[in-house]
Subunit: 217 residues, 2 copies
């Protein structure tokens, strides 16, 4: 598919939301949707929807709207869902375990190959069918298997060290849940962080703003 | 503090990152930092830093940079960290439990009051010192205690129903981990969602883009 580069970060960040929204529409049996209805369901304007999707070659038809199936498939293609990405998890604490057990990797086009830890109580066991290996085996495993992404959920004190090991071992991306701002010295590796505190502080800000407005209208 | 409204969502989203970065600098003993050094550590330009902070009244001094302590405190104030927000958790599955046990609520200005579930095996117990109550008690609890935020980590099938109950009960904000796009009918309630899949799909996109570039340089 032709892409009208260069796409802004804001648009890229919205693509997964489109994909999620279209998946929900598809499950609800919606076949076709107008840009204004799609926008309304996502808190965006129809014009923003059209602009966003135009960045990727412009689907949709004037006066007809978007075919839910087709648009979902095209966005999924752009997001690389069909590329069969692979992933390993570093750290099987509460959060690592929660993600291994509950996150729908395959729906997002990822195959979870293995988890790594140093705790003798978990090494050698399985979590939801996923084998837990010793962290010492990390480099050998990545050398022997194509691993696209390393999910990092180790204690903060080990975050940079384990992140560096993942990068050196040759992963293409790190999905960082450590709440630590990883330094990335390799231009060929992408770091994507989920910072819970950033999200809660945004909520804190928005609530505080409203309180101010109510007190000083 | 005087604020130059209206502040864009992008700037608001960056404020917690500033706060986090300044906290790390403070812990490393850094007293003063230039906008360019602060920018570099965050992947932003010096000019963007100055613009962002100007939105909130403009701190910093030409040729001198920013005092780390003072700037951190002011941003914390803007984020409402000193307001003593309170929070309850709905759902004590793996993820709820991980967050209760590991997330540093107090560092982010939040006090975790209680958790709620329907599983008889956990109701009446404590998780990391936090009492787990039955979900039936939710409305009474919120009526008797000032609860600012409800953290939602229930199964997706119960997400909207429990979100509605939180809104009706009178919380100001919902911190949504259900991976469900909550419909919010109350203009006085803020919903902030953490969608793991959006983050992974963004990473998937960025990796796929690089693969394309390597194959078709």
């Amino acid at each position: 598919m032709k892409r009208n580069v260069k796409v802004s970060t804001a648009v890229i960040r919205r693509l997964p939301r489109y994909y999620r929204q279209l998946s929900e529409l598809q499950e609800s049996g919606v076949v076709r949707i107008s840009s204004s209805a799609l926008g309304k369901s996502m808190g965006l304007t129809a014009s923003q929807i059209r602009q966003d999707l135009f960045c990727f070659g412009g689907f949709g038809q004037q006066g007809y709207g978007y075919k839910v199936d087709g648009l979902k498939e095209e966005i999924g293609e752009i997001l690389g869902i069909s590329q069969g990405h692979t992933l390993i998890v570093l750290g099987t604490g509460n959060l690592g375990r929660a993600i291994i057990q509950n996150f729908r990797f395959s729906t997002n086009g990822f195959q979870l190959l293995a988890a790594f830890d140093i705790d003798p109580a978990v090494v050698g066991t399985q979590i939801a069918g996923v084998p837990v290996r010793h962290a010492d085996e990390l480099e050998d495993f990545v050398a022997a298997n194509r691993v696209d992404v390393g999910l990092l959920t180790v204690p903060i004190a080990a975050a940079q060290r384990m992140g560096d090991r993942l990068m050196e071992a040759g992963v293409r991306g790190i999905w960082n849940f450590t709440n630590y701002e990883l330094a990335c010295s390799r231009p060929d590796v992408v770091v994507e962080s989920v910072h819970f505190s950033d999200s809660l502080l945004t909520l804190s800000y928005l609530i505080s703003q409203r309180e101010d407005m109510e007190e000083n209208p």
